[in-house]
C-alpha cells in the first residue's frame, strides 16, 4: 500500500472528532479508501462487516457469522461468491455458524478444514483477526493479531500510562453501615425498578456525591497539558470487563440522578455493553471512572487512569478483617479502595481530602441523604 494519505470526508472527520475515534483505525469504504460518515458511525469497537446486500442475505439465511472475514470484493468487501464458498464447505460452515458469545470467548482451535482452504483457495477468502486463527498444528505457539478492540485499549492505556505521572493512595473503608443500608434498600429498589441494588451502586453514589465537592478530582486535563476543565456535573464511567476486552460505559449526569435512576441506568448500560449494543456516545465523556474488581476477590489493585480524567478509583473486595474498633478487636467487613491520580493536576493532599470525604460518606451512608 503506497497510498498513505488518510482520506476522509468532512462529515466523517467531524463525527470522529466528536466520538474520539482515531481515523487511522477506521476502514473507509469510499473512493481510494476514503472514510465516510457511516464508516465512523459503524465503528463501534466491532469489526465492521463490509458486505454486499445479497451476500448478507445468504449469510443470514444460512445463519453464519462473518466476523473477521475479508472478502474478494473492493476493499475486502464480502461478495456473494465468497459466502457461497464458505457455506459449501460443511466444516467451515459449522465453525462459522453464529454463536455469539461462544465465538467471542473461546479462541478457535485451528481446523483441518481451514488448512485445506488455505491451500486451495488462496485468493478468495482469508479469515483473520480475533476469533479465527492461522492454521497451525495444535500444541505449538499460537500467534494472533490484535483485534480492533484490543488495539484501541492498548493505545489508550499506553497513552495514559506514559503521559500521566501518577501516584496512588490506598484507603480502607469499614463497609458495615453500607452493607446494612443495602440490605434495607434491596426490596424497595427492586419494587421500584425491578433491578437488584448492589454495593457497587451504593459505592458509585457515594463517589458521585463526594466528587462535586472536590473539583480537581472531577476534572479533565487537555492533551497538551495546558488546560484543566472543571466539570459541574458528573459523568461516571464504570469499567466493565469482558473476555475480549474492557469497555467503559458512562452514566451521564449521574449527579442529577436519584439512587433508583442510577440503578436503572447502570444496569441498562452494563447489559448493553455485554450485548454489544452500546452507542459510541455512551462510551465517552466521563469525568471520573470507577473500576471494581471486588467481585473477583482482589485485595487491592491500582487501575490506569481513563484519559482525560484526572483520577480513577479502584475498588477491591470486601473482606472480613480483624480490626481495632473503639479500642476493641472486632471482625468488620473492610474494603480497600485506591485512588490513582494524575500528579500533574492532583497533589497528595487533594487526593487525600477526597478520599477522606469518600470514606466518611461510605462509613456513614445516611449522610448521602443530606
Amino acid at each position: 500500500m503506497e497510498e498513505t494519505k488518510l482520506r476522509a470526508t468532512p462529515a466523517a472527520r467531524a463525527l470522529a472528532r466528536r466520538l474520539g475515534v482515531d481515523l487511522s483505525n477506521v476502514i473507509g469504504t469510499g473512493y481510494k479508501g476514503r472514510i465516510h460518515r457511516d464508516d465512523v458511525a459503524g465503528f463501534n469497537f466491532e469489526d465492521k462487516i463490509h458486505i454486499s446486500p445479497l451476500a448478507k442475505r445468504i449469510a443470514e439465511d444460512n445463519q453464519i457469522s462473518l466476523k473477521g472475514i475479508r472478502g474478494s470484493g473492493r476493499n475486502g468487501k464480502i461478495m456473494k461468491d465468497d459466502v457461497i464458498k464458505l457455506i459449501s464447505d460443511p466444516e467451515l460452515k459449522a465453525r462459522l455458524t453464529s454463536d455469539y458469545f461462544a465465538e467471542l470467548s473461546t479462541p478457535k482451535a485451528p481446523s483441518q478444514a481451514t488448512a485445506k482452504m488455505q491451500n486451495t483457495t488462496q485468493q478468495a477468502v482469508t479469515p483473520s483477526t480475533s476469533a479465527a486463527t492461522q492454521s497451525q498444528p495444535a500444541g505449538e505457539t499460537e500467534t494472533v493479531a490484535l483485534s480492533q478492540m484490543r488495539k484501541i485499549i492498548s493505545k489508550r492505556m499506553t497513552e495514559s500510562f506514559y503521559s500521566a505521572p501518577t501516584f496512588t493512595q490506598t484507603w480502607e473503608v469499614d463497609m458495615t453501615e453500607m452493607l446494612a443500608l443495602r440490605a434495607k434498600l434491596l426490596d424497595p429498589i427492586r419494587e421500584k425498578t425491578g433491578k437488584k441494588l448492589t454495593v457497587t451502586d451504593l459505592i458509585s453514589m457515594s463517589v458521585v456525591r463526594t466528587l462535586l465537592k472536590h473539583k480537581f478530582i472531577n476534572a479533565s486535563l487537555n492533551k497538551e497539558a495546558t488546560e484543566i476543565t472543571f466539570h459541574n456535573y458528573v459523568n461516571l464511567g464504570i469499567a466493565v470487563g469482558m473476555d475480549e476486552g474492557l469497555l467503559v460505559p458512562v452514566v451521564k449526569n449521574a449527579d442529577k440522578m436519584s439512587l433508583s435512576e442510577f440503578v436503572v441506568a447502570i444496569k441498562d448500560l452494563t447489559e448493553r455493553t455485554f450485548s454489544k449494543k452500546l452507542l459510541p456516545d455512551e462510551q465517552s465523556g466521563s469525568t471520573f471512572t470507577i473500576s471494581n474488581l471486588g467481585m473477583y476477590g482482589v485485595d487491592n489493585f491500582t487501575a490506569i487512569i481513563n484519559m482525560p480524567n484526572a483520577a480513577i478509583l479502584s475498588v477491591a473486595a470486601i473482606k472480613d478483617t480483624l480490626v481495632a474498633y473503639n479500642g476493641e478487636p472486632k471482625i468488620r467487613p473492610i474494603m480497600k479502595m485506591s485512588l490513582t491520580c494524575d500528579h500533574r493536576i492532583i497533589d497528595g493532599l487533594t487526593g487525600a481530602k477526597f478520599m477522606a470525604d469518600l470514606k466518611a460518606s461510605m462509613e456513614n451512608p445516611l449522610s448521602l441523604l443530606i
Binding site: 470526508t9 462529515a11 467531524a14 465516510h36 460518515r37
Partner: protein, 333 residues
Amino acid sequence: MENETKLMSVRDAVIMAMSEEMRRDENVFLMGEDVGIFGGDFGTSVGMLEEFGKERVRDTPISENAISGCAIGAAMTGMRPIVDVTFMDFIVYMMDNIVNQAAKTRYMFGGKGQIPVVFRCAAGSGVGSAAQHSQSLEAWFTHIPGLKVVAPGTPADVKGLLKAAIRDNNPVIFLEYKAQYNMKGEVPLDPDFVLPLGKAEIKREGNDVTVVTYGRMLERVLKAADELAESDGVHVEVVDLRTLAPLDKETVLESVKKTGRVLLVNDAHKTGGFIGEVAAMIAESDAFDYLDSPILRLAADDIPTPYNHLLETAMVPSVERIKKYILKLVNKR
C-alpha cells in the same frame, strides 16, 4: 378564483403574467422586436397588441443598444418597461446599458433614482438553433452587483416570478427556456399570485442526496429523482433555486446539512457557470463539515452548441446522466 389553477404552457403563463401586470399598472409596457402584431418571436405576447394598443406594446427596430437604453431611461423617469430580448444571445449587444448603466446608476447616484426594468430572455439550447442562438448567459449577470437574475423551471413559477420581477424596482434579467415554452403545468389564476424573488424552493424532499438546480434542468432532475426512488430506493431532495441573484443560501445549506451529499445541475456550460459559485459557497460555509462526499457539478459541455440534434442533445445533462451522478454520490464513487 383564489385557489383555482389551470393547466397551461410556459408561454401562456408569460402572456398571463405580463397582461395582468399591465392591467394593474398603466406604467408597465412591453417593448422589443416583433412583440406587436407578430406576437413575439416565441409567441409570448400573442393577443397583447390587441388588448393594450401600440403605445404599450411597442415594436422596435433591430437596435438592441437603443432598445435597452431607451428602456432604462424610461424606467428611470417613472415607467416600468419589459424588454423582450428574444434570443438571450442578443443580450450581448445590450451589455453596456445593462451592466454600466442600469446596474450601477442607483448606486453611483448615492441611492437616488430607481430602474424598474425587466429583460426577458429566451435562453438555452434544445431547438436546433445552433451556437449563436442557444446560450444561457445567466452567470455573467450574477457577477454584476445591482442586477437580479431569475430562472424559473415550471409554468407556475414563471408566472409568479415574472410578476414579481415586474413589480420589483430594480433591473431584473429573467430567463425563459426556449425549449420549454410548450411545457405545461398547473398555474394559479389569481392575479395576485406573486412569488418572492430571492427564495429557493424544495420541490421534492429526501434524505439521501441534495440536488440543486434551476430552469430547464429542474424537470429532468425531478424525473431522475422519481425514477431513483422507485428503482434504487434513493431519496433525492431537489432544491430549485428559482432566483440566482440574490441567492437563497439558507435553503441550499440546510438541505446540504441534512443529506451531506450534493449534486449541482444546470444547462449552461460548466466552466464559469453559476453552479460553480454555489459549490464554492457550500464549501466555505459551515455546511462543509456535514459533507460526506465531494461536491459534484453536472452541466453542459464547454462547447458552442452544435447544430446536429444528436450532438446538441448529448451536450446537455440527460435524465440518465443525472441519475448516474446521483448514484455516484450515494455509492461513494
